[in-house]
Amino acid sequence: MDFNDSTEEATFRQEARDWLKANEPTEAELEGLDGIEAAKLWQKRKYDAGWACIRWPKEHGGRGASAIEQVIFGQEESKFDTPEGLFTIGHGMCAPTMMAWATEEQNKRYLPKLASGEEIWCQMFSETAGGSDLAALRTRAEKDGDDWIINGQKIWTSGAHYSDYGVIVLRTDPTAPKHQGLTYFFIDMKSPGIETKPIKQISGGANFNEVYFTDVRVPDAHRLGAVGQGWQVAITTLMNERASIGGGGGGVNFKSVFKLAQTVNIDDEPAIKDKSVRRRLADWYIQESGLKFTGYRSMTALSRGEIPGPENSIGKLVGAPKQQDMASFALDLLESSGAIWDPELSQEAGMFQATYMASPGIRIAGGTDEIMANIIAERVLGMPQDIRVDKGIPFNEIPTSNS
């Protein structure tokens, strides 16, 4: 085993670091920009210099870098305070699905603009009828000449309100068993008949949406995979989703809670001297390192062209509850001021409070904790599947909450 960079890796790391240092957006450049504008500015700058989506092929807007180089760049970039998050779904989930299922012309048209940040993508899978049970979705697509006509509603679509394109799974055959009647498309979010309505979250912010479709036309050419193959295509997206949500770093992590424990007191001493605080922090350090080293194992497998083993599926299930626990613990450390949420008064501009309110969502989005555990049990460990009461039944004959 060797954890040091090879000579080439070290050279690459230095190159990345030098570029980041010289090009990191300055405060003056970001002044007055909202989150979206700031993220777009940074993404475009990376793209112009060949540092965006570096693992993608050159003709798709990347630089054809290796998996390890991608990790190295990610490590270096994370040392800078650069705008992030806006492109997670597009880069992490939509793009890999396009690469696997779209035509080369389509990839040449759409991926570079995704890489450059010019166009933002969203993922329209969940519906009120089907979240965990994604294949229960009902939004219909009916063939009309060279087009499909969409009617129905999606929900919980992160970023739909500022997205240019979206991937979507639709029911094209309600008489087939539920997994077989689905077809996958990508769609222009500006198409007539699409209406997005923001949904307010528990924090008071609104990052996800309801998306309504009334006679929306999508060309058959925007279909990914065969008619009726939508479930299989969706799996490509979901596999990548779980990888990109993964450990769910965020601002609340071992380092930030450690720092907090140095600044607040318990019994007139810095909290970090308290044995029980140390023990909890040590637990999280161990978990966080475990995830990091697990990531190394996956990356090594990837860099050799192998498929990562079961270790690749634990990230979200460890990371999401950990983040919730840490945010909750940080608020306890803050004692009475943990209950105050005022960017001007609260530590780290209220980051711990914000995370306390965001973390329940991470345990739900992209597969709930319970679904992730089922996946590990059934797909990784090969344990018998739950009895599926709706197996093989035509979709339109399955009982629902409403019937």
């Binding site: 001021s337 209950a339 105050i340 309110m357 969502g361 739900i364 709930t368 555990a373």
Partner: protein, 378 residues
């Protein structure tokens, strides 16, 4: 042994429950939490006049109804369940306990009747910006003049401190430190020299304020400098009342999660039929019942004058905090995406769970106290 509520207590609970169901539906909670005052004066008047709830813990000789702490805790539990936005905890629990524990007969006679009738609302100002709940953390100075104090310093995280008519302030005598010199005093909420700032809280259903005292004239409550024991007793009683409020909130959330798990269908069956969900709910019940037993027992112990009250208070607060937090997080989890939205009500309690957990000291603090107090046999 008779560790159960009496028939009258059950009836009393039903009356309170019905009143709150009527006056504090989630729509009202949402309306009031957006206001600066954070309560509805009409509802306050009704709960004071029709149900005489503020009179509950006040002895009859001081104009109250002379009920026990158990009845007070029943009210708190129901208010926790319905998340009533009203200055009940601050006035009837914090301030009344402080006056009863610290004041002289005359002072009780002059202060309590109006609080009991609900015509004035009082609160206790104890913590400061250090956020600590132990007596030694009190820094606000009371300078002794002939028959009054002059207060200089600040108080923070004062529940309903911006709207209270009467402030019971915990101060320390000039030059004192540690557990010595702790003094209670009372002062009008609008006395000259008090600057009030409403704090922006994560839980908007319970308002907290910062109060700055710039040479404020206040009346001593009890013997100056001898307030240490009264303070501890007040905090223990407050912790017990709050624990009962917390189990009420936790009960609401558990009920709502279970109800939802019986109607939400995924994979062709209700999600409550998945063992992953059943076990989660069973865990909730275990946590809740342990916490309830601790909270009820501690409330009864106040009435019985149990000498182990401090240990019981810390135990109840730890158990209730753990249960409430766990149940709040799992209630969102069981609701899935819906549970993460503003329009679904769970988050109101999820935020109250955290604000209650850190109020009067977090579970780690109380666990340490449980051990210390157990070792000392109190």
């Amino acid at each position: 042994m008779q560790f159960t509520f009496t028939g009258e207590q059950h009836q009393f609970r039903d009356v309170v429950k019905r009143f709150l169901r009527d006056k504090s539906p989630a729509t009202e909670v949402r309306r009031l939490m957006e206001t600066d005052e954070g309560f509805d004066p009409v509802v306050w008047k009704q709960l004071s006049e029709e149900l005489a709830l503020p009179a509950l813990p006040v002895p009859e000789i001081f104009g109250g109804a002379g009920f026990g702490f158990v009845e007070l805790s029943i009210v708190m539990e129901e208010m926790g369940r319905s998340l009533l936005c009203a200055p009940y905890f601050s006035s009837a629990v914090l301030a009344v306990s402080a006056i009863l524990n610290a004041g002289t007969e005359n002072q009780k006679q002059s202060l309590l009747p109006q609080i009991a009738s609900g015509s004035i609302r009082a609160t206790l100002a104890m913590t400061e910006s250090n956020g600590r709940w132990d007596a030694s953390a009190v820094e606000l100075v009371a300078q002794v003049e002939k028959d009054h104090f002059v207060l200089r310093g600040e108080k923070s995280f004062v529940v309903d401190g911006h709207t209270a008519d009467l402030l019971i302030v915990v101060a320390r005598l000039e030059g004192s430190e540690g557990d010595n010199g702790i003094s209670f005093c009372s002062v009008d909420g609008d006395a000259p020299g008090i600057e009030k700032t409403l704090l922006r809280t994560m839980d908007p259903t319970r308002k907290l304020a910062r109060l700055d005292f710039n040479g404020v004239r206040a009346q001593p409550l009890g013997e100056p400098g001898a307030g240490f024991h009264a303070l501890n007793k007040t905090l223990d009683q407050a912790a017990i009342a709050l624990s009962n409020e917390m189990v009420g909130g936790a009960q609401f959330l558990m009920d709502s999660a279970i109800e939802y798990s019986k109607i939400r269908v995924q994979f062709g069956r209700v999600i409550g039929s998945f063992q992953a969900i059943k076990h989660k709910c069973a865990d909730m019940l275990i946590q809740l019942e342990l916490a309830k037993s601790a909270a009820y027992y501690a409330a009864a112990a106040v009435d019985a004058g149990d000498s182990c009250l401090p240990a019981l208070a810390s135990m109840a607060k730890s158990a209730a905090s753990d249960a409430y937090m766990q149940i709040a997080a799992e209630c969102i989890q069981i609701h899935g995406g819906i549970g993460f939205t503003w329009d679904q009500d769970t988050h109101l309690w999820f935020k109250r769970a955290k604000s209650s957990e850190v109020f009067l000291g977090d579970p780690a603090y109380h666990r340490e106290l449980v051990m210390q107090r157990w070792e000392e046999g109190i």
